[in-house]
Symmetry: D2
Subunit: 347 residues, 4 copies
Amino acid sequence: MFFASDNSGPVHPTVLDALTRANDGYAKSYGADDLTVSVTAQIRDLFEAPDAAVYLVATGTAANVLALSVLCQPFETVFCSDRAHIHEDECNAPEFYTGGAKLTLVPGGDRMSPVALRKAIEGEENRGVHGPQRGAVSITNVAELGNVYSLAEMQGLCSVAKEYNLPVHLDGARFSQACAALQCTPAEMSWKLGVDVAVFGGTKNGLMGVEAVVIFDPKRAREFELRRKRGAHLFSKHRYLAAQMQAFLQDDLWRDLANRSNATCSRLFDGLQRLGIDIVTEVPANLLFFRLPRHVHHTLLAQGAVYILMDPETGADDDLVTARLVCDWAQTHENVDAFLKLVEDAL
Amino acid sequence: MFFASDNSGPVHPTVLDALTRANDGYAKSYGADDLTVSVTAQIRDLFEAPDAAVYLVATGTAANVLALSVLCQPFETVFCSDRAHIHEDECNAPEFYTGGAKLTLVPGGDRMSPVALRKAIEGEENRGVHGPQRGAVSITNVAELGNVYSLAEMQGLCSVAKEYNLPVHLDGARFSQACAALQCTPAEMSWKLGVDVAVFGGTKNGLMGVEAVVIFDPKRAREFELRRKRGAHLFSKHRYLAAQMQAFLQDDLWRDLANRSNATCSRLFDGLQRLGIDIVTEVPANLLFFRLPRHVHHTLLAQGAVYILMDPETGADDDLVTARLVCDWAQTHENVDAFLKLVEDAL
Amino acid sequence: MFFASDNSGPVHPTVLDALTRANDGYAKSYGADDLTVSVTAQIRDLFEAPDAAVYLVATGTAANVLALSVLCQPFETVFCSDRAHIHEDECNAPEFYTGGAKLTLVPGGDRMSPVALRKAIEGEENRGVHGPQRGAVSITNVAELGNVYSLAEMQGLCSVAKEYNLPVHLDGARFSQACAALQCTPAEMSWKLGVDVAVFGGTKNGLMGVEAVVIFDPKRAREFELRRKRGAHLFSKHRYLAAQMQAFLQDDLWRDLANRSNATCSRLFDGLQRLGIDIVTEVPANLLFFRLPRHVHHTLLAQGAVYILMDPETGADDDLVTARLVCDWAQTHENVDAFLKLVEDAL
Amino acid sequence: MFFASDNSGPVHPTVLDALTRANDGYAKSYGADDLTVSVTAQIRDLFEAPDAAVYLVATGTAANVLALSVLCQPFETVFCSDRAHIHEDECNAPEFYTGGAKLTLVPGGDRMSPVALRKAIEGEENRGVHGPQRGAVSITNVAELGNVYSLAEMQGLCSVAKEYNLPVHLDGARFSQACAALQCTPAEMSWKLGVDVAVFGGTKNGLMGVEAVVIFDPKRAREFELRRKRGAHLFSKHRYLAAQMQAFLQDDLWRDLANRSNATCSRLFDGLQRLGIDIVTEVPANLLFFRLPRHVHHTLLAQGAVYILMDPETGADDDLVTARLVCDWAQTHENVDAFLKLVEDAL
């Protein structure tokens, strides 16, 4: 009953098969190999973006911060949710890679509203050279608390960004799960809305560690390449990144795995709701936040459920404590049902 | 006949096996998994350094520049060979990760001499706050042009560094091959000489992409962890880095593969010498630099040999042009002999 | 009737005299001149801090960001008011000089409360290496909206900082005015409360452009010197910075000028209050924020009053708009009375 | 007999007068004052560059590194003499302000030759994304060892730069002295040759601390303004920078003072030559490097001559030791003659 993260489960077996297949003879290094060439072409096709520049890196943070580094200047500020991963969970990597740009936090849960975004952008004015300058807008979908922006909601944010002539970054650590939830195409969730650089994440959806950065304006490509190398993120044995992505793309495995995670999480949602549990998120993807009295959490954890409490671990026994459940692609209905049974018994 | 690089060949099959074995069920992320704990303990054992902090990253550049970032300050300068990889081949990554430290280039081929190192260190004096301050000394073994520092030579450099109270970094992208050539232990090639942080490279010796950073003074450990995360080099699915390293350590595979590469290269050396070819390096490891007239190179390359010319590709046909041959672990005696035959025929 | 800023008025005449006196013959450069030596000793005396390291720089931003750069690491976050100058008005200079540290904004007007500070510090926990690490606490006194922290209030903040073992920076652009308002000594407003590095500002109080950075722990001194040089803030003709500071210290000119500014501002406060104007700040120093209908502001500005509207300049005529009045040392009672008369007539 | 530096003498009296004149009433801050507007217009006129953007900063290092920061990217390298001030005497400030760009040192004394420059530029090729990318070319005139590039020599360097499409920075800490030596106009020594950004230094020629940065392509202006603020180099009381520059421009004071320094140095040159002293530089400006046995230097220094030995202070008494003499604007013929007499007596 492991619901702690989507980076803790196994990688999909076809990924290992692809690595084995790729492990044949000599190949050019640093991304000049045939497999990389073919896989990046496939991603361009998938995104219906024939001119896009596509790069593979091994961590989600690298994907995000390299993307930001080509979208904004050190004297600018990036607008993002106050719960954004780039703010809370990347140990100042965005500040590092941008050379010291600021993040302006837009309040309101894990999803920014166009109104709040506009207000934040307007707030960074009237100070001439004294204040940070307006820089990129960064959107995360699936958002950090499990909510999924609708295409209309994303469109609203992109429109505000474009109105101020600001580029848009999409943190797509869970791009697949969002696409699956929205039943849309990658293009519909990215450049068709105005996204300038999208991260198409694989690590949280069955790969060992590969994220594709899709840069829709190829004029930014060369700078990305140089910043990737300078950030020490250019892999010499690049074919093994490409092989993982190849498996991911084959027969839309990415969407299958995302559907699977989302469906398992949905089953969890239905079960908890049936039990009258207080669920914080709307749960259209593979993350679910819910509240239980602390002592119930402790009972569940003691009985083998693995998940993360968001609030401090100490406090009164009866305090309602928020916790996070994540379903990765390998999570099973049996586990979900076993967990629900545990909850039912514990109440 | 692929002699272009040691990052173009296949990974060793036991590495794939280890990945498959590791791909079982759920594991803690970000390096808290059992496999990582066990593998880093093994590396401490291997280095006879029970207090060392050991970290895995996926690229050699990351290993080097993160190591430098905990060894020096932005207002300092790093002393290294003017052929050092950190200077020539990392697109300013050392400058980036150190926050703008300088590299002071010590002339003299790929190996610094203690005399030249001392002169360089002395050169950065008398300027008070105006000049860069003396920072770390960075040694590469195997060096960039294929030479191997003897333990006595390394000791000489470390002694100079210690005399000025400067920390020592060892770029060990080819640590295994150097150890194999010197028939010494990892401890003998590192902390016993005064090395403060050593990179124990795996990528150029049969792994997909893993380097261990061994920090002998654990007081630097926490800063390294934070800088690794901030550099976007902390892997979430860390067990797959650990699994590769596990295979590398198992029955000293690292040394076996290094011996194999070195032996193949030695065969190449003997063969070329027999043919009277001008060999630039002494070749005690797996890199060999040699000179042939340009037109001979072109003949060889046209016939399927793959290797890199160090001098510009255009020029007079009869110019002696330096080229590099690299033997990776998978290189065969058959290939070597076939190549030697080609050379013989071309002369 | 110039109330727009305290950096727009003339410098005090004794400052020019001091420059003229200093302009005699040859002097050592880069701060090794006798005048600098004597002036920094005087500042140590003034702060009753015989071991402190004291440095002069020419801008307030330089003083603040160099101070922060020796107090925190690039992977840390600085806690400050969400109205702090270092956040709003320094165009990412703190992020630049710290190598990419973050600022965590503590809400609540221009003064942080110990409760809000503690909450912010507590908020940056539980994320291990993923979140920014807790760094320095930065306090501004006089605060940005004109309020003055009492010594007890500052003590409260310093205590929280010390509880978490965090260093404290004091942005003292208006140090003199705060000291004058609190009728305390520099020591009482700095190290006696736990401040680690204080900026003793001169530019906003009658000098051309000099701020002293007072570092109470001399172990940080050398790093400051190197970072000052690297930031291009070490003046070669340093005696002209020292001369200004000499005039400032002579017979406590700094306190006289501050008393003068505060008294003029107090007269303004009393007058506006008599007229029933809505005053936002408590006004114990030389800044005053007040509200009037937009059309009244426009009348006043049209009649020659010079000051800054904090809210956007366009909107309904009857909107209450906040504006800032600043009294510098050269401001006169006549001007204040003339301005009050204007307001009275405009109402 | 102070010949140690041109930043140790007094400022010219008209500079103090200008400061006093400027110290009248209220003025807009941050460079929006009338005096700044007028003075920057005068500099545009002086440089015959009606579209140039002109900015004032207070230190030469700030001028240089801010200029470089708008001319090159963090993944590039700046080509400069291996004796360049930006390399030797700015404590990594160029690396800091460019975000980690490298300096590629061009050997050959203090003046680069077009051949050596071309070789250095060519040396940074063939490595794709792995090596630093070719960035700006930085020329210093007067050069660090006192030599003055002729216009033809500068033209040669600029032509090479342009051939590779690289921008050119001119470190003009002693711009006036070079112009005076070459009897040319500022335009002839800058944009007419292909210089993109020139520093017009005042600090080493009679001002307290002002340098003008002249950016010939105004498209770079806004970025410069933001980087200046972010570097903490935007002065609030900007009129006092402008006033100094006003005095400098008035009746070509800059050229008068430069002629004076150069003439005094020339007298020194002639005198030393007459005495048969070994002079290292050709001395067309205000710096002179010469060699004497160590014991003679010690005699001169003991008798009150003040200047800097370039070689270490300890060693055999008879060693020929290089030393530097600098004549600032205030240096007198009497002092020169007295010094020459000392030398004559000491020999």
